[in-house]
């Protein structure tokens, strides 16, 4: 075991007093959280507790919903995420996102991964773009399966492959942070375990925030766990502590299966 000082990692994202409203209804209530760099943080809680809404605050995806209003500050390094001056388009280039349902574009496998680098002008030449696509697919653990059919339609892949393709697509833009919104909820157990292994590998390079309904998944992949209930952050701590010695009785009731 290393010393305690080594265990404490740098803070990547600092959220303070985040409130989210959908029209009149308040979905999140004064949530403050510090996210560690290069670690996996899991958001758990019953449906409608605001965990997905919170996840979407980090890359301003809530902007897409007309009635949604976000208050509070989210600092990622020196970037003030929630500042109206911050360009959400540039922000989202630094923060990749993976969705509940695999959503590959109706293009070829290659074009799906090349999409991000193309729109952001990251590659100077065709060869560089090829390298980026290969590198991203390798990091997403998909290269071996699709190397010889990059020109095939992405919609022809299996669900698990599609989801890893979406991860590769997100990685290709070169983000520091990956947001995953229940990435395995539409997948079978085998595809799920592949993605979970992948998440553990990606943790070396990225700060990962994952929303999940599966407590086993949270326990398997994350170092930190945040439990949400009715729009408030009830408990946040090391995953092993939250699951073995929850401080809050709501948390305990949820992880022991009494509610939710």
């Amino acid at each position: 075991m290393d010393t305690v000082v080594d265990m404490a990692k740098a803070i990547k994202i600092q959220a303070k007093d985040v409130n989210v409203f959908y029209g009149e209804k308040q979905a999140l209530n004064n949530v403050s959280i510090d996210i560690e760099d290069r670690s996996v943080t899991a958001f758990i809680g019953p449906s409608g507790c605001g965990k997905s809404t919170f996840l979407r605050c980090f890359n301003r995806m809530n902007d897409v919903i007309p009635s949604c209003r976000v208050e509070g500050s989210i600092m990622m390094g020196d970037v003030d995420v929630n500042n109206p001056q911050t360009d959400p388009v540039l922000l989202r280039a630094r923060i990749g996102m993976v969705f509940q349902k695999p959503n590959p574009f109706p293009k070829t496998i290659f074009e799906n991964v090349a999409y991000g680098p193309r729109i952001h002008g990251l590659a100077q030449s065709k060869a560089e773009l090829d390298d980026m696509v290969e590198d991203s697919l390798k990091k997403a653990g998909l290269w071996g399966e699709v190397a010889d059919r990059l020109a095939d339609q992405a919609t022809g892949l299996s669900g698990g492959q599609q989801q890893r393709l979406c991860i590769a697509r997100a990685i290709a833009v070169g983000p520091d942070v990956l947001l995953m919104d229940e990435p395995c909820s539409a997948l079978d157990p085998i595809a799920t375990s592949v993605i979970e292994e992948l998440i553990s590998e990606l943790q070396q390079r990225f700060t990962i925030l994952i929303v999940t309904h599966s407590m086993q998944q949270a326990a398997r992949v994350s170092q930190k766990t945040a439990y949400f209930h009715l729009g408030t952050l009830v408990e946040y701590g090391d995953t092993k502590d939250v699951f073995t010695l929850p401080k809050n009785e709501q948390t305990e009731a949820y992880i022991s299966g009494k509610i939710g």
């Binding site: 590959p104 109706p106 991000g116 729109i119 697509r169 833009v173």
Partner: protein, 373 residues
């Protein structure tokens, strides 16, 4: 007889005693016929009433009978619709076959000269004899078809960009309030009778293009393909925008989220993700629009002209398949002449083309549906 009826009804005075007596007889006959009709009606009503009265009983399962009756009624309606369609197609086919007995298929489909009005039946008169040599050649549909395509292409060149862009606006950018105003307004355009578009084309658009041509030194015919096609394009805009809007709205939100999540701007999302995803459906919408443009009659009758010019110059006057059919079948014509029959051949060709376009359109949009469950 007609006079007698009038006298009997008392509209006019009988000119003489014979007529008056005859009118009296007619009146009596009519009166007895009226009585008989009333009696028959009353008898039928009585029989019906007693039959119903006799049948009404606790054991009668009227609901089942009603359901069976309704089912047959609906089935019959469907059959009537299909049978009439088949009948129309059959008569078209039958007459077209008669035409092709006179004129060879090759001459019709590949002939480059169209002038049915001057082509009399072979060997009719001495005057016609001079023309007999060219008689078969004057039923070449290529120039007519070329005119049809030219007008349709101009119409699509107007309607596709405007229709598609307005659909993108209403589906992707407009707030719900704006959308609720813009969409119905565009659909009102679809309700304007084509004859109104027709005289707009003939009296406003065509002179406008001619004057414009004079200003820039171009010789524009007063019945130009440009005017007819342009106005037809305006007619098709609501058609395209409405269908395209439905198609674009049907693209799953998850694809847009994915694009935004990668840092796409709105424009990039629409051009690189939404439109490619909607492409098969859009193609379907455009094909349906083309088939409407090709079949459209009123605008071209009023604005495109009748001369079968073989040209791709939009400033000249062209004619279309529909215009020729109108020309051939209106007015005094012997019904068995080749020229009348040629209208059926043209109609048949038009029908086959639009049918193929519609089938292609349906297949295209079905492919879109399959891709997203």
């Amino acid at each position: 007889m007609a006079q007698l009826v009038n006298i009997a009804a008392g509209y006019i005075k009988a000119p003489d005693a014979v007529m008056a007596a005859q009118a009296e007889l007619l009146r009596a006959a009519q009166a007895s016929a009226d009585r008989a009709r009333s009696l028959t009606l009353a008898a039928v009503m009585c029989v019906g009433f007693f039959y119903a009265f006799w049948r009404v009983s606790p054991e009668l399962r009227a609901r089942v009978l009603c359901e069976a009756f309704l089912r047959r009624l609906f089935f019959l309606s469907a059959v009537v619709a299909i049978l009439t369609t088949i009948g129309i197609v059959a008569s078209l086919l039958f007459e077209a076959v008669r035409f092709f007995r006179e004129i060879s298929l090759f001459d019709f489909f590949f002939g480059t000269h169209w002038s049915p009005m001057t082509a009399l039946r072979p060997g009719d008169t001495a005057a016609a004899d001079e023309f007999v040599a060219g008689s078969s050649g004057s039923f070449g549909m290529v120039p007519v078809m070329a005119g049809t395509l030219l007008v349709a292409v101009i119409a699509m060149a107007v309607a596709v960009p405007i229709g598609l862009f307005s659909a993108i606006y209403t589906s992707e950018f407009a707030s719900r309030r704006v959308r609720n105003i813009v969409k119905p307004t565009l659909e009102v355009l679809a309700g304007v009778p084509t004859v109104v578009y027709g005289f707009f084309a003939a009296l406003t658009a065509a002179p406008f293009f001619r004057d414009l041509g004079l200003v820039v030194g171009l010789d524009v015919s007063s019945q130009s393909a440009l005017a007819a096609g342009g106005v037809m394009g305006i007619m098709i805009i609501p058609f395209i925008s409405s269908l395209s809007d439905d198609v674009i709205t049907a693209v799953p939100q998850s694809l847009r989220d994915g694009a935004y999540g990668l840092g796409s701007t709105r424009g990039e999302t629409i051009i690189r993700v939404v439109l490619p995803a909607a492409f098969p459906g859009l193609v379907g919408a455009f094909l349906l629009a083309i088939s409407r443009a090709i079949g459209e009659t009123m605008i071209v009758v009023m604005a495109a002209g009748v001369a079968a010019n073989m040209t791709i110059n939009p400033l000249e006057s062209v004619t279309t398949v529909t215009v020729q059919i109108v020309m051939l079948l209106t007015g005094d014509n012997e019904f068995d002449s080749v020229k009348t029959l040629s209208a059926f051949a043209l109609g048949m060709t038009l029908f086959v083309i639009t049918l193929l376009l519609n089938v292609a359109a349906l297949t295209a949009s079905r492919r879109l549906g399959q891709r997203y469950e």
